[in-house]
Amino acid sequence: MLGTRKNKALWGYLFIAPLFICVFLLLLYPMLDTITTAFFDIKLVNIREKTFVGFKNFQTIFTQENPNFFTGTMRITLIFVFFSVVLQVGFGLVLALLLHLKWLKAKIFFRNVFLLPWVTAGVVCGFSWKFLFNQTVGVLNYLITLVGIAPQAWLSDPRLVLPTIIFANIWKGTTYSLLIQLAGLQSIPDELYEVALVDGASKLQSLRYITIPMLVPFLFINLVTETGDTFHVFDRIYAMTGGGPLHSTELLSIFMYRNAFVYGNLGVGAAVAVFELLVGLAFALAYIFIFRQERV
């Protein structure tokens, strides 16, 4: 009954149809709608009323003061993304290399414990760290007083808060890197190392000339996904600081949320979302460019 070629193709489409209908309605259409909304003045309270305003929403964002968009929001976001991604991929790589060691005992235990933060909800993650960093009841302040350092206002001191949220953020983000890098390490055939050993290569040399080059594609995927994901981190930071104190942790994602759903200005919010999408895209293209160059 499925004999003819045409018939078979028809069945294929039938099987994928429910998925694609849903994806078109609830992913592709909203994506495109974000872009059109960015050019309209639409308020949260009455979404039926909209007027075309051209690039005015983008102008509103870019000329924003207190904090200034470029020296405030964007600077914070880029610092946050840069350190989060570098540390997540770096720690993920180191932990994966260690977990891949042949003689290591309790591998499953370590891996399962490292998965804990990843399974934890963003809001719970935000709360847990807020608790630990709390000025009066937090355990971190207690620990540092033991070694003679004065208690710090981790989440309300504008100078400390950015490193603090990065520290909490990589807690959740590193696991994914670890899993990707571990899969990468497991994909390298053992024979390569054996050959290197026969040729008299040291452990460091086989790390440098076999492991790292073979991991490059995995590092690439890891960097692209982690950068994208980190640009859109929202719930854990929002639960921890709400963007404060004084906008000092207001990442692009929180800025978007505030404009759209606190100030009720959906058009401006959509413009931030489009900008966010473009920055993410620019990074992805930059990575592709850099990794292409490396390979040649």
Partner: protein
């Protein structure tokens, strides 16, 4: 030469275990702190210095949480309804589509598979404003159905890749043999393919459930009443909107939120980890 000495080996082993144990402490400390606070008597949760172990274990905070707070059991019930609904939807959509991609060859097949990767890379945060508009317009705002649709569909592209990879590992000869034996197409699907696909579906279900259970962003924007809102939103409100943070109640709520999912994850993870990394790498 130095590298081969026994002493150097021992020191590097100790260092390596040391690094791993440091990361264990980092990974566990926040959760341990929250969980142990949930079992401490109320006075102790505010005490200075903080105590590493509860001086005595009490379930009083849990009783207060479920009987005498803005929390009650309702938010968890809402989360369970939404997450189960989303899981069913994702398993249905990706189970069918993965099979279609694996067993039938049709024009645009490769293009559509790549298109799904692109959809997976799209952050849902970018689409939250249109979601809101759609929900208001079509009466989905503040309903279980709305959140089920959003979570179910946003998980589906990645899960389709998981299922696709899984079906590819099941030989097609089995179904062909069943068809030759006079079994109808749908019977062969139901009796031959479906039982074999169960582990793949378990992986997909774990992923979809976890995503829906942990979601805050969609829920806070797309719902407004306490009768619908999942636990994440209520938890957030308790963290932010009270002048005085109730660490004990929040800790108990976090415990209830995380522990069941940890157990479920421990049970299903063997299906899940390989699938996840495979899917991520193909993607």
């Amino acid at each position: 030469m130095f590298a081969r000495s026994e002493k150097f080996k021992l020191i590097s082993k100790i260092l390596i275990y040391g690094v791993l144990i440091l990361w264990v402490i980092y990974a566990v400390l926040p959760l341990y702190w929250v969980f142990s606070t949930a079992f401490k008597p109320k006075e102790e949760t505010q005490a200075w210095p903080p105590t590493l172990f509860p001086s005595r274990i009490t379930l009083k905070t849990f009783v207060t949480l479920f009987t005498d707070s803005s929390f009650s059991g309702r938010p968890f019930l809402n989360s369970i309804i939404i997450s189960l609904g989303a899981t069913l939807l994702t398993v249905f959509l990706s189970g069918l589509a993965g099979y279609g991609f694996s067993r039938f060859h049709f024009p645009l097949r490769r293009f559509l598979l790549l298109f799904l990767i692109l959809m997976r890379l799209l952050p849902t945060l970018i689409m939250i404003i249109p979601f809101y508009k759609i929900f208001i317009t079509y009466g989905l705002y503040n309903t279980y159905l709305g959140l089920i649709l959003i979570h179910g569909v946003t998980s589906a592209p990645f899960c389709t890749w998981l299922m696709f990879g899984f079906y590819e590992s099941i030989p097609g000869e089995l179904e062909e043999a069943a068809l030759l034996d006079g079994c109808s197409f749908f019977r062969s699907l139901w009796h031959v393919v479906l039982p074999l696909a169960v582990p793949g579906m378990a992986a997909v279900a774990t992923f979809a459930y976890l995503r829906a259970w942990n979601d805050f962003t969609n829920a806070v924007v797309l719902t407004s009443s306490e009768t619908i809102r999942p636990y994440t939103v209520i938890l957030y409100k308790m963290i932010q909107e009270r002048g005085f943070v109730q660490w004990d109640l929040l800790s108990a709520a976090s415990f209830v939120a995380v522990v069941p999912i940890l157990i479920a994850f421990a049970v299903f993870q063997k299906y899940f980890i390989t699938g996840l990394t495979q899917g991520a790498l193909k993607g």
